[in-house]
């Protein structure tokens, strides 16, 4: 998955390896689950950022959840940006948090698009090829 490089890490591979006849769409299912849950989390974060006075503790906690979730599917860039965000929370830098949050949103959206394309491709290619592709 060359085009996915940088966006996903080894965890994603692990997910793919878990996929088999008994759970043939496992990866896609998990990814769907992630995006559904993550948009909810993003909304919460956004609301928390705009709230005044800022509650950095809560912000950190929300992003932490998001980070954990993303790491479960191997969303590398998203995960990294979450770490940056948490550092800003730690410094109590609202501006830093805002900037970082924008990046998180962008990375998240990009990842979503790419994965959608990826799964589409896999479906087109067919099961056998999928196995090949997924192993890169």
């Amino acid at each position: 998955m060359v085009f996915m490089q940088g966006f996903l890490d080894e965890q994603f591979n692990q997910l793919e390896e878990l996929q088999d006849e008994s759970s043939p769409n496992f990866v896609e299912e998990v990814v769907d689950l992630f995006f559904k849950d993550s948009s909810r989390l993003l909304t919460n974060i956004e609301q928390a950022i705009d709230k005044y006075p800022q509650d950095f503790y809560r912000l950190d906690s929300l992003v932490h959840q998001f980070k954990g979730s993303g790491s479960s599917i191997g969303a590398l860039r998203v995960k990294n940006e979450c770490s940056v965000f948490k550092a800003h929370c730690n410094d109590r830098s609202l501006e830093g948090c805002r900037r970082s949050f924008q990046k998180i949103k962008r990375e998240h959206a990009t990842l979503k698009q790419k994965l959608e394309s990826y799964f589409q491709l896999l479906r087109q290619v067919g099961p056998r090829e999928y196995a090949v592709c997924s192993r890169k």
Partner: protein
Amino acid sequence: MAPAEEAGGEFPVGMKVLVVDDDPTCLAVLKRMLLECRYDATTCSQATRALTMLRENRRGFDVIISDVHMPDMDGFRLLELVGLEMDLPVIMMSADSRTDIVMKGIKHGACDYLIKPVRMEELKNIWQHVLRKKFNENKEHEHSGSLDDTDRTRPTNNDNEYASSVNDGADGSWKSQKKKRDKDEDDGELESGDPSTSKKPRVVWSVELHQQFVNAVNHLGIDKAVPKKILELMNVPGLTRENVASHLQKFRLYLKRIAQHHAGIANPFCPPGSSPKIGSLGGLDLQALAASGQIPPQALAALQDELLGRPTNSLVLPGRDQSALRLAAVKGNKPHGEREIAFGQPIYKCQSNAYAAFPQSSPTVGGIPPFSAWSNNKLGMADSTGTLGSMSNSQNSNIVLHELQQQPDAMLSGNLHSLDVKPSGIVMPSQSLNTFSASEGLSPNQNPLMLPSQSSGLLAAMPPSMKHEPVLATSQHSSSLLGGIDLVNQASTSQPLISTHGGNLPGLVNRNSNVVPSQGISTFQMANNPYLVSQNSVGVGSKQPHGVLKTENSDSLSRSYGYIGGGAPLMDSGLLSSQSKNTQFGLLQNQDDLTGSWSLLQNIDSYGNTIGLSHPGSSSSSFQSSNVPLGKFPDQGRGKNHGFVGKGSCIPSRFTVDEIESPNSLSHSIGSSGDIMSPDVFGFSGQM
């Protein structure tokens, strides 16, 4: 249920794993991975639901994997509860890899800590934890008792100690120590001999059984409570020494945590000098409390939180920390380093059920019976000038409690320490803050706040001589601790809980409220030593207006001391609870004297924390015998008898969390938490 059996003997195939995490993505991935490892995986997104499932079916799972950050319950809390109630291995996981958090997990008893994203390889090995635990339990049976001793002798020194003891408990490293003990003790009536597959039948630690356990421990004194003797005292057919040993271990951990918690407000992870004693004391109380059903699970949890130094939302009283520290510092003798909470030298010493202080039955007025219950006779109550005093007194261990009382967090930690510190007398944390203030008084700081009178009962109670007298820490209702502690007391012997606060945390005591000095810190002072504060509290005494322990109580106090508050098995009249503000507990009858030492029996003010233990007349320890229902403080108000220090009952912050502030919080915490009385307290829903 042995996985092996279900899988046809091919362990770990079929091992039952319960995964708890609020993140659905992670749950899905883990479940798939576990299935891939051929385990039997069940997922749950809510900790509370998971706990219910576990309680309904204890044998239904072999191992739990839980996330740390969850919305409905803190993962560490779940960890503790599972460990206490079901004794199952728990593995924590989180995306948070900070060392301090990981350490926290280990201290709370986690078998392992996985960093997300969790890899297959890591999951493949989790069966080792299950096996290890079983193996250790088996060994425990053989060497029951050894652990206890080793814990006790372990030098109190804060983190290390705590860590080591925790680790010991968790890893069974104590095994080696155990070997020294006699190993032939009932080896296994309840279990099969084969370590690898034996599934020791789990003993269900019901409230009654736990209460018996606590009574026994109180009776023996936390220092001397070895499984063998406890078993003998309990005289429960079919119960093995191993069962007792493992239960004791947990109890100790719990106490320790509580102590830590209190003390830890300042020092989260390491209970200053958290000697095992503290843990045991705390544990005793808590358990007793739990056993008596008095401590609401929440309180227990809070208490546990406190102990563990976990951030508890409740209790933390800003002022307390410092005071506690001061107190602790003052005491000097306390093993605790920072926490100081130690002041409460554990009153456990009291031989005769110092715990008697714990009014078993007293359903703790709503609140938790003052910690004092804890304090075993010795607790400072009687002579220990209350915890506060004890702080400085190494002798009094009573204080421990009062630490608890004081601040939900501080108290606990503090108390625990004290508990550990001195087995004698249970320090009953006087109602939360009050005691602290009291304690402060004791300490050289003499904080005006401290008002020894208030809750310092504990502190005060711990006069150097405390040794055996139970300190009644009844300090105000330290919500957190007291709540828990009181219960304990109640459950256990009538030991009046001497609010541990009393002596220990100078700041702690009464922190809440600026310590209502008027309360009359029930300084336990037992022997009338004004010293209650003698050590530090000296100042305290004067502070308190009430200083005088309730006369009415004083009767009881003086004699039974155990009850801080009014003669008779105290507690009721507020023995400790001096809710009536100024009821000084009888303990220190000599108010005047007390003034110096306020610590003693000042009845704890409204909080009821009066710990009155210190019987002025040094009737000391009569307390103990009197079984003062410490916990029972007359309802003065909830906080009353808390014996604990501080307002709001010493109950670990967990319980009281919000209660702490209010004087009545003690009862509050206990009761208000809504379920204090459930036997679940302390995580013991009757089953261990």
